[in-house]
């Protein structure tokens, strides 16, 4: 996965993501593609969650999946989630759950309840940072005011780090793939460096949903695992998504 939140020079927060899934879950030799990734593409839908006929939040999802991986609460915040690998992983959380220790939350149920119930960017950030989880994760959150963009790096129990947009430091965007931002990514899977190179080349003056789509369309940020790209703009309450392909030659991950 790749998620990015950027602030343009007018103070708008733009949020884009590629949802990559299906690694090592069966390779289709004839079509040169991952089996599960291809099977998931027809299930990609946009959802408008309503209460009293009013939109509460919007999401891009896989039909049949009740949790949330990508969503926006119009004019309030946008949220995506990327996988985080850790030895202290979800299987421990599941084991604890089976043994009756159920004070943690399932990751995508947390993102769903934050999108449904949080009242602001700060409220959402606090819930994502402090709620005990069954599995580690990265939460990437965008807001509706200047400077409101962050990556929350989570272990199952703790919030390890929160990296925020900081225009004074020249950090006009935050970008997450699947590795802690203070460490080098796996050398065989460094999508961060090419993505940041393209963001830096775009510059804050030229960043828009259009140029963000360009960054998310650059190989290997776009790869064989990419099922969809979503672009969100909180100030306009806009969510748009596109089912992707990466014809060969293309990086398997």
């Amino acid at each position: 996965c790749t998620s990015v939140v950027a602030e343009d020079d007018k103070g708008n927060l733009l949020h884009g993501r590629n949802l990559d899934f299906g690694l090592f879950m069966g390779w289709d030799i004839k079509n040169k593609s991952w089996i599960i990734s291809e099977k998931l593409k027809p299930l990609v839908v946009n959802l408008d969650f309503k209460r009293n006929n009013q939109t509460v939040f919007k999401s891009t999802n896989f039909a049949g999946y009740v949790g949330m991986l990508t969503g926006i609460k119009p004019h309030m915040f946008s949220l995506t989630m990327n996988e985080r690998f850790s030895l202290d992983g979800g299987y421990i959380g599941i084991l604890e759950w089976i043994l009756g220790k159920r004070d943690g939350m399932w990751m995508s149920f947390l993102t769903r309840s934050v999108l449904e119930n949080a009242k602001s960017y700060e409220d959402a950030k606090a819930l994502l940072a402090q709620t005990k989880l069954l599995a580690p994760a990265y939460f990437i959150l965008g807001g509706n005011q200047t400077g409101q963009g962050c990556i929350v790096t989570r272990s199952r129990l703790l919030s390890i780090d929160i990296l925020e947009i900081d225009l004074k430091l020249g950090r006009w965007y935050v970008l997450e793939t699947n590795y802690d931002h203070w460490k080098e990514p796996l050398f065989l899977d460094d999508r961060r460096t090419p993505a940041m190179k393209c963001m830096n080349r775009t510059t804050q003056a030229n960043i828009s949903l259009k140029t963000m789509y360009d960054v998310l369309s650059t190989k290997p940020v776009l790869n064989k695992l990419t099922t969809y790209t979503t672009l969100m703009q909180v100030s306009e309450g806009k969510l748009k998504s596109y089912i992707r392909d990466c014809p060969s030659p293309c990086m398997p991950w």
Binding site: K39, L47, M107, L188, P194, L209, T218, S241
Partner: protein, 123 residues
């Protein structure tokens, strides 16, 4: 050096928007989920539409599991044990998952697996 291996990597793309061409498979359709309706009924319209594709992906996951455990015992285990887990899931998720299983005809345990796959995948 691992980040510059054309043609698997490329220089920064431009003018990709509006989406078109070989990297754009298609747009995504919109559905409404009514949070005022009972959890069990919220996904009926969507799942009725997407039933075939959902059955398809669950079959692919079943095939993958059987590739590891040809006896089919793994899927049997999922179908026997995970329905019990649905009772432990917080509201409204357990009821929504039941509704999806009802409409799609996919065994409840396998719909639970689909929904907790992120945690299971770490295994």
């Amino acid at each position: 050096s691992t980040q510059f291996i054309p043609p698997f990597t490329e220089d920064c793309r431009s003018d990709m928007y509006p989406p078109s061409g070989p990297t754009f498979r298609g747009d995504v359709s919109w559905y409404t989920v009514d949070l005022d309706s009972p959890p069990r009924e919220r996904w009926t319209a969507l799942i009725t539409d997407k039933k075939t594709a959902l059955v398809d992906v669950m079959q692919a996951i079943r095939d993958l599991a059987n590739a590891f455990v040809p006896s089919g015992k793994l899927i049997e285990l999922v179908d026997i044990t995970l329905p019990f887990m649905v009772n432990t899931l917080p509201n409204p998720f357990g009821e929504e998952i039941r509704g999806i299983s009802d409409v799609s005809g996919i065994p409840l345990g396998e719909v639970v697996l689909f929904n907790i796959f992120y945690e299971v995948f770490t295994v």
